[in-house]
């Protein structure tokens, strides 16, 4: 991590990793889609609507994982003052917001045939909606500052406060009586899903994770470039300004 504190070294590493990561992402999506759409069975109760699980559940997992990444980055900003921590958080936020939106929309599309409604204000759905609003709040706060370095600390503090929502999302189905089903994969007594459905789900989750790695590296690279452009323009404006 210390070696990667140098943005130039990070850019070189990203350029080396990205082609391999994109290749692995394409393979994982091809395998996951084939397994999920064609090789896995329909559910005995839900029929083929269970195939929505293979896009809904990985999106929901990534919504939480990306926020956890932002929270760790916030610690990096506040505690270790790692030069890339704020870059990492800022690059991850729009990606996390997109995954959260996907989880909400695909959940609604799954909920309509199974629950008879697109939406219900139960604890799981509401806490995920709150996560989406937190993502939007973080993005808005970053844009409220002209200077990225001035935004880093307040955004990091807000990010850590928002992390309280992660255990609420995870345990909402246990703490409250919800329409959403309880956890069926990440359980202390092991997954409750048959391997014929668990394997496609895990392959799709791997594909989503690899996709996030690709997008995050690229978005971090873009953010580093954006800050370089900004500092060059500020320097040019300073040099061109008339002397007092």
């Amino acid at each position: 991590m210390i070696a990667l504190a140098n943005p130039t070294r990070f850019l070189k590493l990203a350029a080396t990793l990205l082609p391999w990561l994109w290749g692995a992402t394409a393979i994982a999506f091809a395998a996951g889609l084939w397994l999920g759409l064609f090789a896995s069975p329909a559910d005995y109760q839900q029929g083929d609507s269970v195939r929505i699980m293979y896009v809904h559940v990985p999106a929901a997992w990534m919504a939480m994982f990306v926020y956890a990444t932002i929270a760790v980055s916030a610690l990096g900003t506040l505690v270790w003052r790692h030069p890339l921590a704020d870059v990492s958080a800022r690059a991850a936020a729009p990606i996390g917001a997109a995954f959260t939106l996907l989880a909400l929309v695909t959940g609604a599309v799954w909920g309509k045939p199974m629950w008879g409604t697109w939406w219900v204000w139960d604890a799981r759905l509401t806490s995920v909606l709150v996560l989406f609003l937190i993502y939007l709040g973080l993005i808005a706060l970053w844009h409220a500052f002209d200077e990225p370095s001035r935004a880093a600390r307040p955004v990091a503090i807000l990010s850590l406060v928002g992390a309280i929502n992660l255990p609420i999302i995870k345990f909402s189905v246990d703490w409250w009586n919800t329409l959403h089903q309880p956890a069926s994969v990440m359980r202390l007594d092991g997954p409750a899903i048959h391997p014929s459905m668990l394997v496609p789900l895990l392959v799709m989750a791997t594909a989503y994770m690899l996709l996030f790695a690709c997008l995050h590296l690229m978005a971090m690279r873009n953010e580093i470039w954006r800050r370089r452009v900004r500092s060059l323009r500020v320097r040019a404006a300073t040099m061109l300004a008339p002397a007092e």
Binding site: L37, A42, G47, D48, S49, R51, I52, V55, H56, A59, P94, I95, A98, L101, L102, V105, T106, V109, W110, K112, P113, L211, L215, M218, A219, R221, N222, W225, R226, R228, V229, S231, L232, R233, R235, A236, M239, L240
Partner: protein, 57 residues
């Protein structure tokens, strides 16, 4: 396939959002790289404290 419309809708929405994410990252990267090249052509480089070409002595 049962519930075909719902399954199709969920996969199409997922594909659309992921495609939009990829497009945003790629286009943003191109824009930033172009901005760096434009500044470079104007004589502004990182670590180079000299004035832009033709602007200041």
């Amino acid at each position: 396939m049962t519930y075909f419309g719902y399954v199709l809708a969920s996969y199409l929405v997922s594909a659309g959002v992921i495609a939009a994410l990829i497009a945003w990252v790629v286009l943003d990267g191109r824009a930033q790289r172009q901005a760096i090249e434009d500044l470079d052509r104007a004589g502004l480089r990182r670590g180079d404290r000299s004035a832009p070409k033709g602007e200041r002595p």
